[in-house]
Every structure is written in C-alpha cells, then in structure tokens.
Symmetry: D2
Amino acid sequence: MKAVFVNCTLKPSPEPSNTELLATVVADELTQTHEVDITWFRLADLHLDHGVKTSMSEADEWPPVHDAIAAADILVVATPTWVGHPSSYAQQMLERLDAMISETRDDGEPLALGKVAGAVVTGNEDGAHHVISEIAGALVDIGFTIPSQAWTYWNRGPGPGPEYTDTEDGHDWSAETGRTMAKRLAEVGRALATAGI
Amino acid sequence: MKAVFVNCTLKPSPEPSNTELLATVVADELTQTHEVDITWFRLADLHLDHGVKTSMSEADEWPPVHDAIAAADILVVATPTWVGHPSSYAQQMLERLDAMISETRDDGEPLALGKVAGAVVTGNEDGAHHVISEIAGALVDIGFTIPSQAWTYWNRGPGPGPEYTDTEDGHDWSAETGRTMAKRLAEVGRALATAGI
Amino acid sequence: MKAVFVNCTLKPSPEPSNTELLATVVADELTQTHEVDITWFRLADLHLDHGVKTSMSEADEWPPVHDAIAAADILVVATPTWVGHPSSYAQQMLERLDAMISETRDDGEPLALGKVAGAVVTGNEDGAHHVISEIAGALVDIGFTIPSQAWTYWNRGPGPGPEYTDTEDGHDWSAETGRTMAKRLAEVGRALATAGI
Amino acid sequence: MKAVFVNCTLKPSPEPSNTELLATVVADELTQTHEVDITWFRLADLHLDHGVKTSMSEADEWPPVHDAIAAADILVVATPTWVGHPSSYAQQMLERLDAMISETRDDGEPLALGKVAGAVVTGNEDGAHHVISEIAGALVDIGFTIPSQAWTYWNRGPGPGPEYTDTEDGHDWSAETGRTMAKRLAEVGRALATAGI
C-alpha cells in the first residue's frame, strides 16, 4: 500500500519541524511493520495557490500533491496547533482537496472512496483533540474513511510550555499511540481495498 | 448486520421528532437495501445517569443502550443542533461511551474496534457540519471507524427558520445524502467484519 | 457587581470537584479584589429539565439559576472536559439559556446585553481551548460579551494523565491566568454598566 | 473610532467577493450611524508570509495590516466558509496575530486590550456558527473583547447551494443582523475606551 504524509508546519526546510519528528514515528511503523511506501510533502516548501480547484495556475505546485494522494491508499495530515486550530497550510490543503468531492473514479464513485486518513498533531500548548476533529470532519466530507484511533498527538497544557523537542515528557505515550495509529490505518486501508470499496 | 440508532432529541415521546424523521430515511435504507437490523433508542425517554462509567446506579437506564451498541456493527447518532452544538443528550451519550475506551473484546482489542458510526443532524438554523465533526472526532477517539460521507443533515440558514417538517425545501438532498450514508456504513461495516478487524 | 458561577461537573455534591477548585481561584479574586458578590450553582445537584424554555415543568429547578443570571453582571461557566467537549451539563445549560435570546429588558434590548461571561475549564487531558471557544461562541450568540482572556484552564496532555488535584504542575499558571480573568470580567463588566449598555 | 476590516476571501481582486458584499453592510452602518472610520484589507491581494511573528521578511506585507489593527478600536474578520472552517487566509491572519499576545502598550497591558472584534461569514452551505466560534475563541485568546451578537452571516444549507449573490433569500436577515453587529461593536468599543481599558 502507499501513503502520503503532508507536513503542514509553518516553517520551510531546513528548519527543524516538531511535527515531522512525531509523524516520522507513524511513517516508520507503517513502513517497517505494515509494508507501506511513504511519500512526503512539506507544504511550506511549495508554492501553493489558494483556491478550491485542483489546478489554479502555471506556478501552482499543488497538482503533484493531489496526484500522489489520488494514487495512495492512506493520507496522513501532520500539523502544528496554532490558536487551537490546524495550521493555515492544513486549512489550505483541505480547501484544495475540496475539489476532490466532485472528482470520480472510473466506476463513478468519489475519488477518495476507499482511502483512509488520519492526523498527527503537535503544539506547545493544549489543542490537539479539536485539531483532530476538524481534520477528520473535513476529510470524511471529502470522501476519506477515518479508522478508529487514527491519530496521535503531543500537546502539553496548561499554558504555553516547551515544544516537543524541548522535553522527553509524554514522548512514549505519543509514540505508542502513533504505532497504534499506523496499525489502524494499515488494517482498515487493507480491509477497504480487499472489499473493493 | 445490526445497527443501533440513538435519537438525542430533547423531546420525550410522544412528541414528534424531526431528527427521528430524517434518521428514519437512513434506517429504512439500511434495512431495505442493505439487510441491516435496527434497534432504536430515544434518550429523552430513558433515565440516564451522568458520568463516565457504563453503569452508574440501580436506576440508570444506560446499560441496555451500551449493550446494544456493544452487540451492533453500526452506530448512528441522530441529534438536533442547539447553539450550534450536538444536544446535551448526545454529549451525555458520548460521556457514557467514554468508558468503552477501556473495555476490551476477548482478543484484547478495544470493544468498539470494527464498528462503524455516523451522524444524522437536524436544526432550524446553520450548524450541522460542526455537529458532525464533534461527533465523529469523539467516536474515533472511543474506537469507532467513520466511513466517508457517513452523515446527512437538514439545517437551514441564515438565521432561525422553519424546522424540517415545516417545509419541503432540501428534503430531497438530505434523503439522497442519507441513502449514500446508509451505503457507506453498510459497505465499510461489512469490509471490517470480513477482514476480521 | 454580582456574578453567577455555574459548576457543570458531572459529579453531585459532596464529591470533590476539580472544576470547583480552579473556579474558586477566580471567584476569590472577584470577591476580594473586585468587590463582586458570587452566587454558586452546581448543576449536578439540581433537577434540570431538558429543553429550550426557561420553565419546563413543576419539578424543574432551572428557573432559580435563570433568575440569578438575569440579575447578575457576570456569568462564569465552569466545566470539565469530556471527549474534548464541554460537559453535558454545560450543554444543557446553554440550551436552557437559548430562551434568553428572545427575553428582553424594559428597554426592549436582549436580557443578556450588558452582561459579561467567561469560562473555567479542567480536564485530565488536552481540550480546553476548544471548550472555551464552544462556550464563548454560544454565549455571544445568546447575548453576553466575552472580555479578552476571560478564561483559565488546567488541562494536561499528551494522553490521559493526572487530574488537577493529583499534581501541583501548572497550578501557578492556571491561578495567575484565573486572576487575570477576574480582572477582565470585572473591568469590562463595569465599563458596560457605566456606559449603560 | 477606527475599524479595520480584513477580507479573508480566497479570491484576489478584481474578482467579486460575496464576503466583501456582506461585510460592506456592516462597514456602512459603522460609518454612517456610528461615526467609525474604516480601513480595508483583502489578504489575497497581499504577499503574506507564514509564521507567528509580526514581521517575517523584507517581502512580507503583513506589518501594515498589523499596524492598522494596532491603531484601531474595532477589528472585523470577514471570511468565507471552506469545509466548515474559516478560510486559510483567516487562519494565517490569526497565526500572525498570535504575536500580539506578547506585545504590550505603554502601560504594560496587552496591545489588543480595549479593542473589540467580530466576524462576518458567508458560504454556499452550512457552517457559519462554527466559523464564528473559531474566530471569537482565537481573538479572545489574543486579547480582543467580543461584544454580544458581534457577527452576521449568510450560509444556506442543507447541501451545497447558491452563493450569496445568486439569490435574495435571507439577505434581509443577514443585513439586519449586520446592523445590530455594527451597533454592538460601536457601543462596546466606546464603553471600553471611555473606561480607559
């Protein structure tokens, strides 16, 4: 199976990304335990037009992301938490994916049908559950299936505190939850593929 | 397959429930097209304790709801929209289901694993998408899988307006979307069962 | 000035309430520094009907809560976090307050106009910011003004962890934020009263 | 008094913006009835860096928006609804405003203290209440006060439907609500200024 990981950090490469580090735990588990090939995108490194169409301009670098998602079985949205919300890149991605609602497969079904998706969230303060709900609600709308517990996070309240890489606190829980996430994505993804959905 | 429909209207029987009417479109499609047996609960007719355990007191009428959900393949939460949120009965139900996170099957996996869930939402004003995200986010946390487009709604903005039964506007869209919801729940539910998840 | 604190814990008295403990920091600051009189309600101790009217039945114990809020300048909603949401009692309260949208003062303005409100949130895992947004959004709809930083919280991710009273971690931040909350509620409440809003 | 209106439509000028049209109702009322001067920004026409600092690069065109908001009494965020959320430009704006949490006035108080804010939302489907809650929750965090009913919207469910300019349905309600919004922003803004907050 194939998975696409989209890192929605606000920081372009080569700045280190906490979100990428936690997402890598999930990606490694998918690759090593569940034989899933991963393609990564970091939206802050791309020129992305704003809009709700798959292709917006000559300069627009969204179409390769779209095509990779269209060819994959699994989508993972990895995002930091800002003012308690998914990042502006995550929202921009959901807007671009909005076009997928009306794109169909050869059998006339929605393009995203049969694909599964999940979320990886980091932040230096409280907020992950809402970010996960926002992403899950949008992706279910667009046509993805969200397996149970298809998420992990590392957010630490109360109040602003250390970032993920500033401490070891809670890393074990986030990693173990991430490995469960990988299992859920892989097993539900396979079940949908086997069933021909 | 078996489904449980939980109507979270604030109104006890025999008051008519808009939410029940729209949910019935989904239930009928599940029964007639997808051979699913339905069990209904209307929480306003039960004595439900508040809390996060499966059984709270002698008088508590939640355990039969819990047991029906535990025995079912599909859960549908049907709720009106109040101040833009799922109803207090829907939230009370999610709190009671919180106990299910730590309940396990014979194979040690979470009790809800392998079950699918969706939402039916009504309201006399804007708000359905958020209600769907709130319910989906919570149920994914508890262990349910949310199939793509496993929801329908009838909410009508801008501003307060007619209720579902006061008009025919939009009924066709809500019913067609409800039939797609039934298909998604049935096909993903079967895929998970076949895969032994 | 007068304030009403509504504790939306799921636990009836005399069980200890983490939410009450943190809310008391805010209440004490309002009383001692800002000369505000406090009236407390704990919804789990009352018989509350479900619905969206101010009075639902003979047995309904909501009307005294309504009347106290109607007579107060400040409303504080104190709630635990369950599945990332305000508690079912908090939602039930917002539903009952929905009636206030159409209640008017002698001058024909909405009853809640001129009142300020805020939120106190606790939980043994991530979720406070969303709970605050849900409560603020609903109360703005009903007619309350939300002063800047009119909230405090103690939620601690990642993953399920200790409750507020199980640790001292973060208490100082939550208390200091709570005292700022008291100041904002008092100063904006006074400004609206002085302006005759 | 001064107000800043930020249009977060995804479409650059000169494409027509539904969101601008509805926001103009509010702006006109502020100008004509409440003697408020308006400065407009349309984020899709600017080069905005991503990040959480007030100034990110030489090319970054956020600083003039920041400075206008810093000098104003009233902020209005006008946004379309995409996948049920505020637009990616609205989220990008909230991220840039995050820096304002730690910016202070001469008296040491937060820069946004004493300012009021509200939201104007449009969309061709359900979603406004959640968008309003997301924006209000974030702005209260950053330091703005949200007056009661400081919002208007035009969203129309169920299902995808006409855009604001495709129909006259509901325009009267949205306009009347917008005029109330203008009154609330002006009167609470004046009350805070008079009180020296």
